[in-house]
Symmetry: none
Subunit: 187 residues, 4 copies
DNA sequence: CGCTAACCGAGACGGTACGTCCCGTCTTTAC
DNA sequence: GTAAAGACGGGACGTACCGTCTCGGTTAGCG
């Protein structure tokens, strides 16, 4: 209603995202977000009671799903595309820079955990749907459990991002798909 | 040489680990670690210049590997055992409580990242060796890439721990192994 | 505007003066001043960036001159009165307790030096005026240099206070006046 | 006895004096003195229990009296010479740089006060003797109180050094002598 | 079309923790 | 057995943010 409110929310979230990308979650500060956005600290606190809340809110902005799945090509190729998108998202987006922070914050703040679970579930849902489609069309082995397979695929990507020095390369991502879904059939 | 040094290092790291487990990395405080350990703050800083250094040092303490792999039973069963150990480790050990914290800290502090990478590599190495053994003995499919398979397996465990509400159950862990390694052959 | 500001300045300076009188400048502590005043340390530092600044500010409060010189009696008697007041001020006021501290601080902090110089100049100005009056009225010898004479008089008081075991007694103060201004004429 | 002891005392006092001159008494530190001298902190503390003691000891070194009074010329001129020496000593020697510090320290540490009192008394004794000589020889007025006159003279010098922006110039020092001792008689 | 309610900026406040520095004491080892 | 080396508990330093609060100023949008 009051346009000032919307304006505040916008400029502060934008500043928050910039800051997050620059200094990381731990060094991110309400004061800095306020200062950079030009809003007063009290204004920021009026809208978001805690640092977590602001960050979570700001990240919602970025919660863009992969391009709406052109649905062309084989299931295998579309899965490749999806995983590749995830890999790239984890490799450089501002959101990716916050994921470790969110994981840590989620340990002690249910609302952050909930945000993260929703985020990952949303992402994985598309993958599961695709797997199901491949199974019923016979393109993928019948014994595949779509849930578990999606965990293995997404998990490898997250694991490489968080627990190893280098994220999965696109090429290895494709080979990972082969590992988990079984060898590509001749075509 | 000076026994006071060793004593200080011991009591402070112990206190630090307890604190980490209780309050998480973000809320972990040098002052609290000093207070709990009974050491003076200046003493703590004399040994560890930053919070990161203390945490990393304390965690080295915990870097215990799974029981030295009894090496009995089929490769499949031993992999089950290994993954189960990982799942359990992630479910309740003190170290597990710190892993989210480490992931976050590693984003901005190379020494923590390095600790984490070493830790996960060490853990995964056993798994890779086991996979290789299974492949050469013919118990596992020849097309398996041990590295990628281990990433998928460990990744799923980590993913469930960090990005979903509930960790993998032992039962689903076993089914995960089947997914990634292919169906168990009749025996 | 904000009444909290004035309140803080008042309670903290009061506490600071008490502390100065009790423990001396060297043992005076920002933390103690904050604690005694009930203000937070950060609040104290918000108003006074350093210990010096707080002390100097607090002492301004005390910069009370001697009772506005009743101007009765001979010039000689009024000078006696003035010197006596100085002697007494140096013997027991809270400010006197700080003068050694200020001298020391002034060595390395221009703002303190400036406070001290202003303070002493103000004090001495009255004395100089009185000397001038006596000279022009013929009550004091014509060859007197009011500036130098005031330095000799004030100097002796300060010297006894700071460099000898005992301050000037009132009686010796009167004899000092005789020394510097020449013997009292018969009347 | 033990040559090491003497060596330690010497190198530490030298380092202490250098430091005092450079950073002032307040910023002077036992640790810094130890570090600069190459001695261990514990060694320094073994010889001087407190900062005060070290400083006082170091300053004894400097306690050089004016050149042993050539005793030539009139009393007046010798007094001029003495005061001039005091003025110069107060204007630039390392000891002068510490006098404010000593005054402050003396407020709370009897041994420092005692050092300072002895120092100033020694200095003033020569002046008093000279004054007495002048009085008995008739060169100075009979009504002069040598003690009080010396306080006025020394006091003015100290006062200008400590409480005004500039020390007494040599020229004004001579005029000061005239003020206090009475006009120079024709000769 | 003027009022009032809200939202705003500015920033002071009591706190907590930071990481540094120095104190004066102590323990260990080497000469 | 003295000295050097340096760890120790203690505590103040001055800084940075925290989250709360009080204060006008302005600016909607309702009457």
């Amino acid at each position: 209603v009051d346009p000032r409110i919307e304006h505040t929310r916008r400029v502060v979230t934008e500043a928050a995202l910039e800051l997050l990308g620059e200094v990381g979650y731990a060094a991110f500060t309400m004061e800095a977000a306020a200062a950079r956005s030009g809003a007063a600290k009290s204004t920021v606190y009026r809208h978001w009671p805690t640092k977590i809340a602001l960050v979570a809110d700001a990240l919602e902005t970025l919660n863009e799903q992969p391009p709406p799945a052109p649905a062309t090509g084989s299931v295998r190729e579309r899965i490749d595309g999806l995983l590749g998108h995830l890999t790239r998202a984890f490799a450089d987006s501002r959101l990716s820079a916050c994921i470790p922070a969110l994981i840590e914050a989620g340990e002690h703040h249910p609302e952050v955990a909930s945000f993260l679970h929703t985020y990952s579930a949303t992402r994985r849902r598309t993958l599961v749907a695709l797997l199901r489609e491949g199974i019923s069309s016979g393109e993928l082995p019948a014994h595949l459990d779509p849930e578990l397979a999606s965990l293995a695929l997404s998990g490898a990507v997250v694991y490489c991002r968080t627990m190893t020095p280098a994220p999965l390369s696109p090429r290895r991502t494709r080979r990972l798909v082969d590992q988990v879904l079984g060898p590509r059939s001749r075509c």
